[in-house]
């Protein structure tokens, strides 16, 4: 579906994307995980055929976006980072007007709009203007709008940023359904839970480059341990502990507010720590996540 080799995007002197290789297969859910400014959105815009590449090769649906932009866009669905719905039109009109830009007949668009409002659970708001809808509803409408042309490939740029947990889960549920219907998804996110929930395969991006690639579980297995022990200390005491904590686990990360000890058994690491006289304010044993992978790869947190 998407084939990128040494893809580069420059804005003046600034290189936002510095040589990215990805290969997205039909039917999978592919993720770009990374902090803000990692180059995810720039990559997405190039794939969406709205931003010409500065260098490298890119094929989307087997075509070159620079040459066949409109033909590619005809078969894509795009959910931009910021909703750009027509706030002065109704929910239904938003879907119908947008559908027409794909050259779909009025009758088809009317049918499709009704179907999509059901899918996005917006049926009751069909004749309401978009302006007063909640953030979650607007987001669902944006996703519904991106489906109006039955796209083969759906691009979602930070689909759930700014939504409350309930709205996020509802959205994820809708995306699962699409995936099970065979739609290929490409998602950017800086939420590790979202990446873990949605993606079959993902790349971790940082500073315009790909730091690692694989399935969420592969990445965790490759770059982290089975468990993580988190220790918090009263202000000022953490530094003293860092000196004695070495060797308690396979690897240690020092964050401003806590210590992370990477080990296969968090409980036993905690026992060893107590044995050495470490007295944390609180402790937590948890499984490794993509956040830990990211920390390992870049030395920085995803969400700062």
């Amino acid at each position: 579906m998407v084939e990128a080799k040494a893809l580069v995007k420059r804005f003046g002197d600034f290189e936002a994307v510095r040589g990215v290789d990805v290969h997205v297969r039909r039917g999978e859910a592919f993720g770009f995980l990374g902090p803000n400014g990692a180059g995810k959105s720039s990559t997405m815009r190039m794939i969406a055929a709205v931003s010409p590449r500065s260098d490298g090769e890119l094929k989307v649906l087997g075509m070159d976006p620079d040459r066949d932009g409109p033909r590619i866009r005809a078969r894509l669905g795009v959910v931009p980072q910021q909703d750009n719905l027509d706030s002065e039109l109704t929910v239904r009109q938003n879907l119908q007007v947008y559908g027409r830009y794909f050259g779909l007949s009025r009758a088809h668009v009317r049918r499709k709009a009704a179907e999509l409002m059901g899918f996005a659970q917006l049926g009751e708001r069909a004749e309401d203007e978009v302006e007063p809808l909640s953030g979650g509803m607007k987001r669902r409408l944006t996703i519904a709008r991106s489906l109006v042309n039955d796209p083969e490939l759906l691009l979602l740029d930070e689909p759930t940023t700014g939504l409350d947990p309930q709205a996020r889960h509802l959205l994820w549920d809708r995306l699962f359904r699409l995936k099970s219907e065979g739609v290929t998804l490409i998602v950017t996110t800086h939420y590790m839970d979202e990446a873990e929930q949605l993606c079959d395969r993902l790349v971790v991006m940082d500073g315009g480059r790909i730091a690692a690639e694989g399935s969420p579980s592969e990445l965790i297995a490759r770059f982290s341990t089975r468990e993580v022990l988190e220790l918090r200390f009263p202000p000022g005491e953490q530094d003293a502990v860092v000196a004695v904590a070495g060797g308690l686990a396979q690897r240690m990360e020092v964050l401003p507010d806590r210590l992370l000890l990477y080990t296969d058994s968090g409980e036993s690491a905690l026992e060893r720590a107590y044995a050495r006289g470490v007295r944390p304010l609180s402790s937590l044993v948890r499984r490794s996540t993509l956040e830990d992978v990211f920390l390992r790869l870049t030395g920085r947190s995803l969400v700062e």
């Binding site: 931003s51 409109p70 796209p151 083969e152």
Partner: protein, 267 residues
């Protein structure tokens, strides 16, 4: 496995026309809110200036021996078309890029930035035609027309409006502030143009050294054409000159707008 997507690529005219269709759906919801600016305001000016102020004017050399109402009616239509066109091409276009971002949404579909611009221009042209037609009818009721030539004032007004709309859209596409620039533009360019480009009095009353300012304004050319077709006395050669000037401004503005639309939407 999904079936191939039913979306397809459209011809340029068809794509631009779909944009017009989108505007039309907006208009069907909001036409009442445009009644005043497009329908009533030109008529208020016609009554105030043509009839009220005109009552104080003795027909003379300046008005070509005509009553002031007859003199000013064609030019008022052109001037209001220009004002409308500039208004429709400033904040609404900037909003498409910046606030509402509907331009960003549309260019994610097979519709290109150029087709988007085309649709916007066609839409402005249609709006101007509609408002102008209303004006022509009501001005007729006031006895402001001298003959059937008045019907030709409408296309002249729409053409002049579009000649101003195209460069204005280019400016809007290069505007990144909150539109403070437009306010200055209205005050320094559009307003003086309306006052001095031969709408209310002949440009010969302007001191010779400054008269070129009126001559370069599209409105003066539109006014000359409009008076020519409504009141007669227009030679073919100057008429072609005025029309060519308007066409040139439209073409240059349109090409610039196209360039800046692409530069802003395809980055």
């Amino acid at each position: 496995m999904t079936a191939p997507a039913p979306g397809r690529v459209l011809g340029s005219w068809r794509a631009a026309w779909l944009r017009v269709e989108g505007h039309w759906i907006w208009y069907r919801r909001y036409w009442t809110s445009t009644l005043y600016s497009t329908g009533l305001q030109p008529l208020l000016f016609l009554v105030a200036m043509g009839i009220g102020f005109g009552s104080q004017v003795e027909p003379g050399a300046a008005t070509g021996g005509l009553s002031y109402l007859h003199y000013v009616a064609p030019a008022l239509l052109v001037a209001s078309a220009v004002q409308n066109a500039v208004g429709e091409s400033s904040f609404p276009v900037l909003s498409g890029f910046k606030w509402q971002k509907d331009y960003v949404a549309v260019t994610a579909t097979p519709v290109t930035a150029g087709q988007l611009l085309g649709g916007q221009l066609i839409w402005v042209g249609l709006r101007l035609s509609l408002a102008g037609a209303v004006y022509v009818l009501i001005a007729f009721a006031f006895g402001a027309w001298q003959g059937a030539g008045a019907l030709l004032v409408l296309p002249v007004a729409v053409a002049t409006g579009l000649a101003c709309a195209a460069p204005m859209m280019a400016i809007a596409a290069t505007t990144y502030d909150e539109g403070a620039r437009f306010v200055s533009l209205f005050r320094f360019v559009v307003m003086p143009m309306t006052l001095f480009a031969g709408t209310f009095f002949p440009v010969t009353q302007i001191p010779g050294a400054l008269r070129w300012l009126a001559w370069v304004s599209p409105l003066w050319h539109g006014n000359e054409l409009a008076r020519g077709v409504a009141l007669g006395g227009l030679e073919p050669l100057p008429a072609m000159g005025h029309a060519a000037y308007l066409a040139a401004v439209f073409a240059a503005g349109g090409l610039a707008a196209r360039h800046y639309f692409y530069r802003r939407l395809v980055i």
